[in-house]
């Protein structure tokens, strides 16, 4: 057969890794990874904590020795410190952790100057690049502010500037978006895309979040030090044929248990069920699901393509060759659930000095409901939780938790709530059993109750076999379930979860959510959860979005999406061969709010049919081809970004108006 593309030269390789092995004492972190990164692409490493992403990236950046295989960067073998030094000038490396490479007491300006001078950037170029990058990141107003006073998203953008100030040919970014709010994340990707386009930079970036995978040109999915899949997102998709069937069904728990007899992935998102089937034909896929359900009638049934996350979960399940852990929620003697509200906040206010962190926040959570509190860092979520937990007295307003007034009955509230924080707050130097027994004692359980709850937690969280392991040695997913178990030791009626799923692998995350929805549905526990990972917020029954201390939008995930669709239109996805150029051409033509996802462009359109024609015309005039256009369902992330951007715009206009 002829090869029609024989004229295109093979892509220049920036990085070539063969059979890479990294060992930490006895522990093999990475075993036999191959990787090739072409010039000018964004290459993604995806995988949970401990998959080996950081080790691989550090070795490529020349800051970590390794035990086996070869690492070539810019055709230089990175095997000694001297050879690593030879390519370092052409590299930029952003280590993991929010702003960890920056100096907290230096200002934005001083941090950038320091990194530029370290890299011997000429002063004139420095001034020009700094101005451009600061404008792109919208940090130019904060030049004199000390780094430690920036928000998480701003710190990470500053970290990116400092990594890129010497215009490296290869940027290595280790989990740059972990802990960053959706709007800052979108900014972050836009900056990368633009630099890629302008300077022909190559980027290697890692993330623990599967929903970012669509942004990469090519990617490798790592798990326990091995590559499970790699290629373009389309190629990875092709590895797992199948489709995702979503529908509502009642009673939900009965539906789930029927589906689990035949389906490997069943997930409950609030009232909605998502079920994976390996059938690609929509009609027969739907039929298969209906037959499992028997006499339960599915409502609003859709058959969709798989998300990359679904693909990864399927690959992981195939790899581990284990049935998905199905949490047995052992029955516990439930105290008579009263049907009043679990949480009620009325006009809550909290001031810190002159700064109003929480401004007249009101909401209600019913028993058995999963309530999601969303918002960027500093929006006031944590302050609301602290007030409801009785750690922080409110400046104004009132609230009731588990039937008690938070102003007068702080002690009683603490006995009735469970709380689990981002850090999982376990004692890492204690064993699983010691942790559980400690918290049982703290909540005043006697020996019999402690033994009973210990058994319940072990079976609920699937901790069998881990009882006497030190917590520090547990995988993140197990640690997370242990923390949940400790928070549930005294059978609280209300559970607070503050960003509970960072760093957990997709299967672990699904297992965790399985437990949560069972707790809510079966035991009637009210759950309040904060997160800025929007794929997670889809699990909530009811969501409230906070911005600058206020609740600015509220409703079920579906209602929130529908509202944005009514206000701003549907999500139009354009696939083109030169997305970077296309993005700029369309912005010149007057389209606003376009986001770049790998080779695709996303924008909201009130009149998709008409806009599609306009876009095709506009791009054609520039000689750019449109390979495809489709209307995609809105994600909660789109909702979040749309809302927050609109509010930020309004704030800017009012401050401008005030200044004028």
């Amino acid at each position: 057969m002829d090869q029609p593309e024989i004229l295109t030269p093979p892509p220049a390789q920036v990085v070539r890794v063969r059979g890479f092995v990294k060992q930490y004492k006895q522990h093999i972190a990475v075993s036999g990874v191959d990787l090739e990164i072409h010039k000018g692409e964004i290459y993604g490493l995806i995988g949970p904590d401990g998959a080996g992403k950081s080790s691989l990236m550090k070795a490529i950046a020349g800051v970590l020795t390794y035990e086996g295989g070869t690492v070539e960067v810019f055709e230089t073998m990175i095997d000694t410190e001297r050879s690593a030094e030879r390519v370092k000038q052409r590299l930029g490396f952003l280590p993991q952790g929010l702003g960890l490479n920056l100096y907290p007491d230096l200002s934005v300006d001083e941090n950038i100057d320091f990194f530029a001078r370290l890299r011997l950037v000429p002063e004139r170029e420095l001034a020009e690049r700094k101005a451009r990058l600061l404008a792109m990141t919208r940090l130019d107003k904060f030049r004199a502010r000390a780094m430690k006073n920036l928000s998480g998203g701003m710190k990470q953008k500053l970290g990116l500037i400092c990594t890129l100030i010497h215009e490296p040919e290869l940027a290595i970014l280790d989990e740059p978006t972990t802990g960053v709010d959706p709007v800052s994340r979108r900014d972050f990707w836009a900056i990368l895309a633009e630099l890629l386009q302008e300077r022909g930079m190559t980027v290697l970036v890692s993330t623990a979040y599967m929903d970012e995978a669509e942004r990469f040109h090519r990617l490798s999915f790592l798990s326990s030090g091995k590559v499970l899949a790699s290629g373009t997102p389309e190629e990875v998709h092709a590895l797992v044929p199948g489709s995702m069937v979503t529908f509502e069904a009642t009673p939900q728990l009965e539906a789930i248990s029927r589906l689990k007899t035949g389906c490997t992935q069943v997930e409950a998102l609030g009232p909605v069920l998502r079920v994976f089937t390996d059938d690609t034909n929509p009609v027969s896929a739907a039929q298969a699901i209906t037959s499992y359900l028997g006499d339960i009638e599915p409502r609003q049934l859709h058959v969709d393509k798989l998300d990359l996350e679904d693909v990864f979960v399927a690959l992981l399940l195939r790899e581990t060759d284990q049935p998905p852990p199905s949490p047995e929620l052992p029955t516990a003697s439930v105290s008579s659930a009263n049907h009043s509200l679990a949480i009620e906040a009325k006009e809550l206010i909290r001031d810190f000095g002159t700064f109003r962190a929480v401004d007249r926040v009101s909401f209600q959570v019913k028993p058995g409901e999963i309530f999601g509190l969303l918002g960027a860092n500093g929006a006031g979520k944590t302050t609301v939780i602290k007030m409801l937990n009785g750690i922080l007295p409110p400046t104004g307003g009132e609230g009731w938790v588990a039937g008690e007034d938070m102003k007068t009955a702080g002690g009683a509230i603490k006995e009735r709530i469970g709380y689990m924080s981002q850090a999982f707050s376990l004692y890492l130097d204690l064993t699983v059993e010691e942790n559980i027994r400690l918290f049982a004692g703290i909540y005043g359980l006697d020996r019999r109750a402690t033994n009973e709850r210990f058994a319940w937690i072990v079976s609920m969280a699937g901790l069998q076999g881990y009882e006497s392991s030190l917590t520090v040695r547990l995988p993140m997913g197990v640690r997370q379930r242990l923390a949940l178990g400790c928070a549930l030791v005294h059978q609280p009626r209300v559970l607070f979860l503050d960003e509970p799923t960072s760093g957990v692998d997709p299967i672990g995350r699904r297992h965790f959510w399985d437990i949560l929805s069972r707790l809510a549905r079966e035991e009637g526990v009210a759950i309040l959860i904060t997160t800025h990972y929007m794929s997670e917020a889809e699990h909530g029954d009811h969501l409230a979005l906070m911005y600058a201390g206020r609740i600015v939008a509220e409703g079920s995930p579906a209602a929130m999406k529908a509202q944005v669709e009514r206000e701003a239109g549907q999500l139009l996805e354009i696939v083109t061969d030169q997305p970077g150029l296309a993005l700029r051409q369309l912005e010149r033509a007057g389209f606003a709010g376009i986001a770049l996802f790998g080779a695709k462009l996303h924008l909201l359109s009130r009149d998709p049919a008409h806009d599609e024609v306009r876009i095709r015309e506009s791009l054609a005039s520039d000689g750019l081809r449109v390979l495809g256009a489709a209307i995609r369902p809105l994600s909660l992330e789109d909702v979040f970004v749309h809302r927050v951007m609109a509010l930020e715009r309004r704030d800017r206009e009012t401050t401008k108006g005030a200044a004028a």
Binding site: I391, Y419, A423, S425, Y427, L430, G441, I442, D446, F496
Partner: protein
């Protein structure tokens, strides 16, 4: 809840939290190694090594006389106090040797020294002493003066046909002293006891402070604050656990090193000693609790401990007696629990006195400790508001 139930729950909380602290401490290998070293090897080395008495002072001699008398005088500077470092050929070489610092003193004996003594003329010897280390230098000079004086007296008596033993007809005052409590004047006893007290003080501040700040550092304190524990219930178990730990270490030092190796006597009541040691640890722990409220991580706690503990150790009367310090330091040190505990510990161990003699010290220590502890607790509560 009934009050009795409430008490049961309160005790249960205290027990589980205390057990947790002990388990965590036992698993903290570097800290445990430091603790064990401090109460065993370090007590042994310090007890053996630190000597405030004059030992091995290097002596150089410039003997211009080279006579019977000069050799007799030189021979009286002997070990263990003085070490003979050799004779000088030239007098001015002495300064160079002192500058170099190997030797501590130069004894310069003039020509005609013997003749003068025999003929009954007045004569003098010169002694050059390096007093860079003032206490050692001064005591060397004092010893030397006594030796020379004694030698002079004896030569006078000898000239008059008398010997030191048959000095009866000459009127003179004989000073005779009797040593109590430590008859052998064994310095090892006091040095090892005072080192033990130093270690107790350091760990009484460091351990609770480190345990509290570790909870802050790792974010686990957040979890404790949303639980029904009160600040006292968070803090108290740490103090209890650390007190038990330090008491254990003290027993190891006392019965494992000081008593069998140095023969330190334990003359008083052991029960009294350990209960007052516990009181001292709790009193001092208040400082540690305070330190934990003004620091963010373990490294800062380490430095803070050094900063707070150093003046307490230096000025509470272990290294130098309280009575020699300026009045304001004495008033300030009334706030240091260690100031009272030194007298309690030496009193029980060496003098064998009981509570009837020590109650005022114990009371003062209790009052100071209660105020320090109260202050620490107040700071600890406040930081979470």
């Amino acid at each position: 809840m009934k009050p009795a139930d409430r008490l049961v729950v309160w005790c249960r909380r205290l027990t589980v939290m205390t057990r947790k602290e002990l388990v965590q401490l036992l698993r903290d290998i570097p800290l445990m190694a430091f603790l064990i070293y401090s109460f065993t090897l370090s007590v042994y080395v310090t007890g053996n090594g630190i000597q405030t008495q004059l030992r091995n002072a290097g002596l150089l001699v410039y003997d211009a006389d080279r006579s019977l008398s000069s050799r007799e005088l030189v021979s009286r500077f002997h070990l263990p106090y003085f070490r003979f470092d050799g004779e000088l050929i030239h007098a001015d070489e002495g300064f160079r040797r002192l500058d170099r610092g190997r030797s501590m003193m130069v004894l310069d004996i003039p020509a005609r020294f013997h003749e003068a003594l025999v003929s009954g003329e007045p004569t003098a010897v010169q002694l050059l002493v390096d007093t860079t280390n003032a206490p050692q230098g001064l005591s060397a000079a004092g010893y030397a003066a006594r030796i020379v004086g004694q030698f002079g007296q004896e030569s006078i008596l000898a000239r008059n046909g008398l010997t030191a033993s048959s000095s009866a007809p000459v009127p003179m005052i004989v000073s005779d002293h009797r040593v109590w409590f430590n008859q052998d004047q064994n310095e090892t006893w006091f040095e090892s006891i005072s080192h033990l007290l130093r270690m107790i003080t350091i760990f009484a501040v460091l351990l609770p402070a480190a345990a509290l700040v570790r909870e802050k550092e790792r974010g686990t304190v957040e979890q404790l604050l949303v639980s029904p524990l009160t600040p006292v219930q968070i803090m108290l178990p740490k103090v209890v656990a650390m007190t038990l730990m330090i008491l254990g270490a003290t027993a190891v030092a006392l019965f494992g090193v000081m008593q069998p190796i140095f023969g330190v006597p334990i003359r008083g009541s052991l029960a009294l000693l350990f209960s007052l040691t516990a009181l001292f640890i709790v009193a001092t722990a208040g400082i540690g609790v305070f330190a934990s409220t003004v620091t963010k991580n373990q490294a800062q706690v380490g430095m803070m401990t050094l900063l707070v503990v150093a003046p307490i150790l230096l000025l509470s009367g272990i290294f130098t007696p309280m009575e020699t310090m300026p009045a304001w330091v004495q008033y300030l040190m009334a706030l240091s629990p260690l100031r009272y505990f030194i007298e309690i510990a030496t009193g029980i161990l060496l003098k064998g006195v009981g509570f009837d003699m020590l109650w005022s010290q114990a009371l003062a220590m209790g009052v100071v400790g209660a105020s320090l502890f109260g202050f620490g607790l107040w700071r600890f509560r406040r930081q979470f508001q």
